[in-house]
């Protein structure tokens, strides 16, 4: 029964995507909405991404320096590890898990409220493809802004590591810099960007699916918001496994 429900939901999700990925009725309206979503979903998320990345970068550096480093390990390892963790996992996968909470619940509750207050019905009655008008700009905006968020996250993480080394006196800036520059593989950055763009797509489409299909009232909007976050978080983790294998 669970499997059948899951398949039905997946079928509806694909049907919704079929309605979303159409040519917009009016490109002018799409672009207007796209810019608004870039600000709402992307620019408004920069502060949380910066704060979390800054502290995680610092904490990774502390953990390696204080708890993992031993006499047989070179002094540059904390810098190296901080960079690699930020590039490979944190700035793409973990940051997207955080964004699925912030952006996913935002999208699901916005669309859910529009559904229960008949605003989506109003769009349909006007002859507007409501799924396309409401969801496509969100998907396009988050996927577009993701490389920027990943770059900022990596930069903030590295800054956090430098800050803690400098302020906390847990090592030298020189050792950290050597570690940061050691055996740098540019592909790791692009791998993070590709993964994050894929996760951005998952976050927006899954949250939109739950919000767009709400039936009932405010309680259901709340449930949709929770379900959107839970489902997208699980799917981010599952697809992360496959994508990492595929891109490595």
């Amino acid at each position: 029964m669970v499997l059948i429900n899951w398949l039905v939901a997946f079928g509806k999700y694909l049907q919704m995507l079929g309605r979303v990925f159409r040519r917009p009725d009016r490109m002018r309206m799409f672009l207007r909405k796209f810019y608004a979503e870039v600000f709402q979903l992307g620019i408004d998320s920069i502060s949380i991404v910066l704060v979390i990345s800054l502290f995680i970068g610092a904490v990774i550096c502390i953990q390696f320096k204080m708890n993992i480093q031993s006499s047989w390990m070179p002094a540059w390892v904390p810098g190296y590890a901080s960079r690699e963790i930020m590039l490979l996992e944190f700035s793409s996968s973990i940051m997207c898990l955080i964004l699925s909470g912030k952006v996913g619940s935002n999208i699901a509750s916005e669309l859910g409220t529009m559904r229960v207050t008949q605003q989506i019905d109003a769009l349909d009655i006007m002859g507007v493809n409501s799924a396309n008008y409401l969801i496509l700009p969100k998907v396009a905006a988050l996927v577009t802004i993701m490389p920027v968020l990943v770059t900022l996250s990596v930069a903030a993480g590295i800054l956090g590591a430098y800050t803690i080394v400098y302020i906390g006196h847990i090592g030298t800036v020189r050792d950290l810099t050597i570690g940061m520059q050691y055996s740098f593989n540019q592909w790791f950055f692009w791998m993070g960007v590709i993964k994050a763009m894929f996760f951005g797509f998952l976050i927006t489409t899954i949250a939109s699916y739950y919000g767009y299909n709400v039936k009932g009232g405010s309680v259901e909007v709340g449930k949709a918001s929770t379900n959107a976050v839970v489902t997208s978080s699980i799917l981010i983790l599952v697809t992360d496994t496959f994508l990492t294998q595929l891109l490595s």
């Binding site: 009725d25 009016r26 002018r28 309206m29 207050t117 008949q118 605003q119 019905d121 109003a122 349909d124 009655i125 006007m126 002859g127 507007v128 493809n129």
Partner: protein, 252 residues
């Protein structure tokens, strides 16, 4: 003109609409009335295409909507305006942006012309000064008027109003009713109003369809109601002491 032929709709085991046949005429205020749960909203949603009936035909000027392609349905919907029970104004937009929305979406007119049309619609519903306000800053009656302005901005052929007076005081309800009636006549639209407000029925009911447990029980004008022998209709219309007294006075 909208014609319904043998409309049936059920949800799981419950038959909500049972063989509904009726005609909604042009330039008239057509009312669907009935008790809560009688199937009014489901019928309205079937007519506008938000719900697919199980069987039957919904004919818009002779063409069955249920056999339309997606493109034809979109085309038809662009000739529809709808006033929802809760107004359904886009709360992230100002009133003017709400009214301009259908024009921005579908009109090929210049920005100046679209703005002029939106302002005309706001003037028509006496909301000239509310253009820059957000829907949340308006009273219930003003929200309804803004929703009417949005519904008529594209000069639709068909106007649908779902419980236009719900949550409004009697005086504001009369204003909304009169506005709908005037707009219907001015633009020669086919207007269907879903209501259980007796003031609306007796005020603007030019063609009234009475639903009872999902079936069309009676059809006529407001003038026919007073003389109708239909017991179910009389029980519904004259349910309150006030209306019973009114009938007694009328009979005397």
């Amino acid at each position: 003109m909208i014609e319904l032929k043998s409309i049936n709709k059920s949800f799981e085991d419950k038959q909500v609409l049972n063989n509904v046949n009726c005609l909604f005429e042009n330039s008239k205020t057509n009312l669907i009335i009935g008790r809560s749960g009688s199937g009014k909203t489901v019928l309205m949603n079937c007519i506008v295409g938000l719900i697919q009936p199980d069987s039957g035909e919904i004919r818009y000027d002779g063409k069955n909507m249920l056999s339309f392609s997606k493109q034809e349905t979109f085309q038809l919907r662009r000739q529809m305006g709808m006033l929802f029970q809760g107004s359904a104004l886009f709360d992230s937009m100002t009133v003017l942006e709400n009214v301009m929305f259908p024009l921005d979406m579908f009109s090929t007119d210049s920005y100046k012309d679209r703005m002029r049309r939106a302002q005309f619609c706001l003037d028509r519903v006496n909301l000239s000064d509310a253009g820059n306000k957000l829907p949340g800053e308006l009273s219930g009656g003003m929200q309804k008027r803004a929703a009417i302005a949005r519904a008529i901005s594209m000069q639709p052929k068909y106007l649908f109003c779902d419980e236009p007076n719900s949550g409004l005081d009697p005086k504001t309800s009369i204003v909304i009713d009169k506005l709908i009636q005037e707009i219907t006549r001015e633009n020669e639209m086919t207007t269907i109003i879903n209501t259980h407000d007796m003031n609306s029925v007796m005020g603007i009911g030019e063609n009234i369809v009475f639903l009872y447990h999902g079936e069309k029980e009676w059809q006529g004008s407001k003038d026919d109601i007073m003389s109708s022998p239909n017991k179910r209709l009389n029980d519904f219309i004259f349910a309150s002491d006030f209306s019973k007294r009114l009938r007694e006075v009328n009979e005397e």
